[in-house]
């Protein structure tokens, strides 16, 4: 199962990617929304899971979310915002724009695992 992690912090991307690989996912990474879309277009892959930070340069996570949800190709992709934005209004906006879940930073590996279970994504391994 392949996953996409989009975060402008390489350190955070690396931590999340490592958690996901530990659960059996193969993981692609991007530093902003534009990079993520370019990668997806080039690879032709459709990830089962996309984890999006909100605040990123060039194209932020909310804009990327809307782009992904406007494309039927990614209908089956579960999208989770993973962000320090913890205001109720942000959460509401993301869910209304088509995010399936929302994980506030900081979070524990157990919290990530439980969110994946909520999404119906058991560990691939």
């Amino acid at each position: 199962m392949n996953a996409l992690v989009v975060d402008d912090s390489r350190a955070i991307r690396s931590v999340i990617a490592r958690m996901l690989r530990g659960m059996g996912y193969s993981v692609a990474e991007a530093g902003n929304g534009r990079d993520a879309l370019d990668q997806l277009a080039q690879s032709g892959s459709v990830p089962v899971l996309a984890l999006l930070d909100w605040n990123m340069p060039v194209m932020d996570g909310y804009a990327l979310l809307r782009e992904l949800r406007a494309n039927d190709r990614y209908l089956g992709t579960k999208i989770m915002m993973v962000t320090t934005e913890t205001e109720l209004e942000r959460m509401q906006a993301a869910l209304e724009a088509g995010a399936d879940e929302y994980l506030m930073k900081p979070f524990t590996p157990d919290a990530l695992r439980e969110k994946l279970a909520i999404l119906g994504l058991e560990a691939a391994a």
Binding site: L88, E101, L103, M104, D110, A111, I118
Partner: protein, 273 residues
């Protein structure tokens, strides 16, 4: 490294906990004692576990005694813990009871409810599915620990706590921000009734229950006490009431007056006698 407990002190501590809260701790659970009590030593201004036992042997009971009982009786919990029982609640139990009871309210009991995530999970599921029934229902939260009951009443949770197991749509629908924390909305808090209760001691004044959750707490009691607790709970239930235990728990050799069924990935007990 701080000194560990001498065997005689560990035995004394187990007796103290058994007497004061009916908790059964044997040698296999010594890690639980160390894990739960070591963090409160600094708070209490005590240097080590052996010194803690010295203080506990003194009478009358003080804050130290109460704090130790609280630390040992605060059980970990989270929203939608183990997931599957709440799927069974949603897909099987609530529809069945509402079919039988109509729009009358339900009485639901969370025994050893700790900090309240389980009863609030039940409240969210019930309110989502049957808002009219939810408005007339009561969720009784009992625990031996008064601190956790106070937390339950307040319905205030940290970001780490609401991040765990709680679907984001539920968080948005049923919580509001209170500073850096999250509070359960008043419409759900209104459903909750909290009572101090030691399950090992006969109780009075609990209404007939339609659903009882007693998850991951019977493990702390010996077999005779488990039997007494389940017998008393059963007699406090409606004849068609449902019982939920923890995932690894069973009523085998405890009580055979419940019909057991497997619903999805959880085991369900229904009062049969």
């Amino acid at each position: 490294m701080p000194p560990a407990l001498e065997p005689a002190d560990f035995v004394w501590l187990c007796t103290f906990l058994r007497t004061e809260s009916a908790l059964v701790i044997d040698e296999s659970k010594e890690y639980l004692v160390t894990t739960r009590l070591s963090p409160i030593l600094r708070e209490l201004g005590i240097a080590s576990l052996p010194e803690l036992v010295v203080q506990l042997k003194r009478r009358p009971m003080t804050t130290v005694h109460r704090r130790v009982i609280e630390a040992m009786t605060t059980n970990e919990t989270s929203f939608f813990r183990d997931v599957h029982p709440f799927e069974t609640l949603k897909n099987q139990v609530l529809p069945d009871l509402v079919r039988r009871r109509g729009s009358a309210g339900l009485n639901i009991w969370c025994a050893a409810s700790s900090t309240g995530q389980e009863p609030y999970t039940i409240a969210m599921v019930l309110r989502d599915m049957f808002p009219d029934v939810a408005a007339r229902s009561r969720i009784y939260c009992t625990d031996i620990n008064t601190l956790v009951l106070e937390r339950t009443r307040q319905g205030l949770y940290t970001q780490l706590e609401v991040n765990r197991g709680l679907p984001a749509p539920m968080l948005v629908k049923y919580f509001e921000r209170k500073g850096s924390e999250w509070q359960v909305r008043e419409e759900l808090r209104r459903m909750i009734d909290t009572r101090v209760m030691n399950l090992a001691v006969p109780w009075t004044g609990m209404p007939t229950m339609d659903i009882v959750f007693i998850r991951n707490v019977l493990i702390y009691f010996d077999v005779p006490t488990k039997k007494q607790i389940i017998t008393r709970i059963r007699s406090n239930m409606a004849m068609d009431g449902y019982l939920f235990l923890g995932g690894a728990e069973t009523l085998l050799n405890i009580d055979d007056n419940f019909a057991r069924s497997h619903e999805g990935k959880s085991t369900l007990y229904k009062r049969a006698a």
